[in-house]
């Protein structure tokens, strides 16, 4: 029992390291090669945990071999479009100029239900609103609506606005983020001043967000007097 426990702890740490090594893309949308690695990794990791007669190295070696190969392949794919196409495939246009390409749908083995479901996932409930739809290499659909159906932007409405970064999270549960302060061009003393104005110490702040203009939102920890 203890062997299983220790192996589970070690493999947990190793798999987290392996997934981190694969990069952020792995956590979000899976390319075909990454999906294969993820499935294999989860299967292989369970073998030495379930069967203590299997040496743990028999699980660790293939996991890291797969991850390393995946990283090497993605590095190569970055340098060559042809390789990228080979490993990940290429996006397919499934609706063009408002017209469904049934051949592409057939090639992708995409049913009408699949298409409608994917469109609903993009907040499109009426297919006649779609100008262009692309099936990405991850299998996800991205949609460009017809201009008559699209949400008007501020520039369409001739509204004068200034581009600005959204507020940054400066204090989270009393913890001041130096990186966020640098982002908005302020320092720790500014936080102390803001906190003092609210009759609190920085440690008593639950959330403090602020933008470059110095506009801030402060929420104090509950129970603070």
């Amino acid at each position: 029992m203890l062997i299983v426990f220790f192996r589970a702890v070690i493999l947990y740490a190793l798999i987290i390291f392996a997934v981190r090594l694969m990069g952020k893309r792995q956590i979000g949308e899976l390319q075909p090669s990454e999906l294969v690695v993820t499935i294999l990794m989860s299967n292989i990791a369970t073998l030495p945990i379930e069967d203590v007669s299997i040496p743990m190295i028999m699980g660790v070696v293939p996991i890291f071999t797969f991850v390393c190969l995946d990283v090497f392949m993605s590095q190569l794919a970055m340098k060559s479009r042809r390789l990228r196409k080979l490993f990940s495939g290429e996006p397919k246009i499934i609706i063009s100029e408002g017209k469904i390409d049934q051949k592409v749908m057939h090639d992708l083995r995409y049913t009408v239900d699949d298409l409608m479901e994917s469109l609903r996932g993009c907040d499109v409930f009426d297919i006649s609103q779609v100008q262009l739809a692309v099936v990405e290499t991850t299998g996800k659909i991205t949609v460009c609506r017809k201009s008559t159906q699209d949400t008007p932007s501020r520039s369409d409405m001739k509204l004068k606005t200034q581009d600005a970064d959204p507020p940054a999270l400066i204090v989270a549960d009393g913890d001041i983020s130096e990186a966020a302060l640098r982002l908005i061009g302020r320092d720790r003393r500014w936080v102390e001043k803001i906190a003092a104005a609210a009759g609190a110490e920085p440690e008593d702040i639950f959330i403090l967000t602020a933008d470059k203009q110095g506009v801030y939102t402060l929420i104090r920890k509950e129970g603070f007097k």
Partner: protein, 125 residues
């Protein structure tokens, strides 16, 4: 550090550990086969003291060898050899004909474990 560099280092470590384990296995198998042959020869034409000494040497080496091998080989196969080794003394004490057969069996088991780890085409496929 660059991911590719980390992966390169990891692959190098994996390759080194893999090759190292095969070399270690090859050397220790050669040694243990020599010990098994010594037990067999003593059983065929040696004195009981010689048999006792050679079995003790074999068991002693096997203890360390088992731990090293258990890192790279399933322990099921290793346990089978341990059971067979434990049977050698009683078999010899009862002048059983099976003694030599058991020695030959252990020898083959050890060879098979080593052969199973060598990256031959049929093993890979």
């Amino acid at each position: 550090m660059n991911r590719a560099v980390v992966c390169g280092v990891l692959m190098a470590v994996i390759a080194a550990v893999s090759v190292g384990s095969v070399v270690m296995l090859d050397r220790s198998t050669e040694h243990i086969l020599g010990l098994i042959d010594a037990v067999t020869e003593a059983g065929e034409s040696g004195t009981p003291e010689e048999v006792e000494d050679t079995i003790a040497a074999l068991e002693d080496y096997w203890r360390g060898h088992y731990i090293r091998l258990s890192v790279i080989v399933q322990t099921g196969a290793l346990n089978d050899i341990s059971y067979a080794l434990a049977k050698l003394r009683p078999l010899y004490a009862h002048n059983a004909d099976d003694f030599i057969a058991e020695c030959r069996g252990i020898r083959r088991w050890v060879e098979l474990i080593c052969e199973g780890q060598l990256p031959r085409v049929y093993s890979v496929l």
